[in-house]
Symmetry: C4
Subunit: 251 residues, 4 copies
């Protein structure tokens, strides 16, 4: 891509631009083949095998992408250091008990592409992230809990309800995880919930402070520009009184 | 109304002014015929029919109002765009499973009229909105849950208690919705609860910041006006030293 | 008190100063005779009667105090308006179902006396108020619940634990009120809990903002005093150049 | 240590520097012999005795340290006043029902050493403190509850899950303490949870305020330095016009 005498960094950027769309499609596919066997436990063995195979293929393509990017990078050591988290997230999810990490991979890949709309309003980004967090937690907790004998989260409806009740810190206790994996998912969701409340509260506080200060019609503080203008005025005055040869040689 | 050579916009405004009071009465009536069959499940079939008929009549009157307003609007496309949410809210509530949307319609109609007192203190508005949210959620959840076989919210007292426990995010779990509709109502209530906590927290933070900064008796920052006064002083000084023909022709 | 030609307002203030200490003692006594029959349901009928009698006597003394103050007030109509809440709180608690209002009366009377230490640090005041709120809610909820057949809050230990779990909005659901009175107490406690979280959050936010801005070692904004000094300097300069007869007559 | 004519304060500081590392090791050992019998209730009587003996020995060494420091202090009365909390924490934990206080002792001793990294980012410190609070609460609640006949927190996994659910104020109610000691531990954890939410919220609010104000590209306020520079300029101007003998004697 972008043939000719391009530098290595240019080639890395070109690759990332070209691969963004296919990777987004792959990550959505990864999500689908993660979600389908969870949502449909009565899936035929054939379709279940298709899901497993697709998972492996997409996973290998993700690895291929990062290896290409590593080879195109000028400073490979720095690339490895900066993408350490990506590498960990790429390595872990093939271990069955950690398959929920696949969802993190999906989020990371989609986020690469969403830089554009992320520059939009912060509130929209937070709302979308929260919705995804609730949805993915519901999938992951259902996957973790369904096998447990004393589990009470056994349908996707209940899992979605549980994750909503948890992220808002209401916590009725009608549903709760009983497995270690399910509790790890809950931990992430609770931390997300606290962050969400913190964000909403912080935004409202900011908005109230501004509204109150606007309503009070307070005098505007003097700016550095105001003072700079003053200074120019005085400097001109001084030059008039005390002509400096270097400054007013023409005088 | 407002006869004579009035422009179309004037006539729209006149209509909205004249129709505000009857629409408020209609929306309260709409609330009553929504609430009564929920609060009194043993209502006689005759009265139940009266409620259904009143609902339909009020609903048609709401439609009539928006059609009149659309016809009076100068820029009809813009009117439709701006009132899209109203149109959706007007269309949905006649579908039985979405009848809770009627409450949103009531809130929207009352809000049109309350512009006046909404300009009052923000805290009063938030408190009133919270009380309405708790009350309407109790009605809606009771309506959704009563039919379910495994429901535990079966009386209005319990529904009111449940919505209080939910909006404060306490969530004992002695009562909780089990139907999809009831859980949707809960979702709205929880989001409201987070907003409420955010508002209270934000207000308290603002108040503390102001109290602390007042207590510290900090020096007042220089204002733009202070600096402007300074500048005028210096400008006068300069004119005195360096008379400009355009400025001091009389000198 | 303060004999001689004192004005009526002086006499009101003198009465309030003199009566503060006895009223505090009375209000603590009021709290004790409220709490003892709740904490010891197996109290002998004789002691129970003593408690009821003491309640009535203290209550009459509270009424005597407000009547004396009303008679000493210069503007009686204004006094009534300003003490409307006190009058309501004095009237209600003799109705058995509203006896929890007695606690509000105790708080009001103690608060009159605590003006001094309330001027101290806000945090201490909030912590003390929170502790009292938890303690009084436990008493009131135990009083309300004990008589109910399906109550689960039946000991003071459990009531104290319940009010702690509620004010922090944790809400396990191991204990919860089932009576209307108990739920009203819970409502007050939850609102208190939200306010408490709001206060803590607001204080922390204020403290962080100040710490961060101190750490960043930001330049200090110019103050109005700085600019006033500047102005005096320039005014002196102008007088020197352009002597004004009214201003420099001695020149 | 630091022989020669060192002052007493120097010797105290030298002792504290030298003893910091061994005390940290001792406090970790103290934590281990606190935790092991809780995590392994089936410990052999021999090993259990080793734990008890180690606890006593470490406890005596802590006492030895504070006595040495008291003797090295110049102003012993002030030392006692400043270390009152340490003395209380050193006295209490040998009483069996208060053995959870040993954890506070561990935290205090480790904190002496962590001054260095505590100066790092506040967020890291808060996260580490939260993790320790959750871990230690789980140990203490398990210790308190295991003996109770109606306890539901009976394994370390459940205790850890319970403390996570509590600190985030979710409070499902699947696990909750039933003993007085367990409830005291819960109280500490809930207060910690509110503080944690307050900190996160406050940090987010600060961050949002700064982000929003940076995005709005507001004019920078004039600083005191700006105005001081202006003043110097005007003073020079005035000296030029109105030569002061003390100031411009050479003119």
């Amino acid at each position: 891509m972008s043939g000719g005498p391009a530098t290595e960094t240019d080639r890395l950027k070109a690759w990332e631009r070209v691969s963004a769309a296919p990777l987004t499609v792959l990550s959505v596919l990864f999500l689908v083949v993660y979600a389908v066997p969870i949502l449909r436990p009565d899936l035929s063995p054939g379709l279940r095998d298709v899901c497993v195979a697709t998972t492996v293929v997409v996973w290998l393509l993700f690895w291929a992408d990062i290896i290409v990017r590593l080879r195109l990078a000028t400073d490979r050591r720095r690339f490895l250091r900066e993408h350490l988290f990506d590498l960990v997230v790429l390595t872990l999810p093939m271990l069955r008990p950690l398959r929920a990490v696949r969802l993190v991979m999906v989020v990371l890949t989609i986020n690469r592409r969403t830089e554009l709309w992320a520059r939009g309003r912060l509130a929209v980004y937070v709302a979308a992230t929260t919705a995804l967090l609730v949805l993915f937690s519901a999938l992951a907790v259902l996957d973790a809990e369904r096998l447990a004998s004393d589990a009470n989260i056994t349908s996707f409806d209940d899992a979605l309800w549980w994750s909503t009740v948890t992220i808002t810190t209401v916590g009725y206790g009608d549903y709760y995880p009983v497995t270690a994996m399910g509790r790890f998912v809950a931990l992430g969701l609770m931390i997300g919930g606290i962050g969400l409340i913190g964000f909403v509260t912080g935004s409202l506080a900011t908005w109230i402070v501004e509204r109150v200060s606007a309503a009070a019609d307070r005098p505007v503080a003097a700016t550095g520009d105001d003072v700079a203008a003053l200074r120019a005025e005085i400097a001109a005055l001084r030059r008039r009184l005390d002509p400096d040869p270097a400054d007013q040689s023409a005088g």
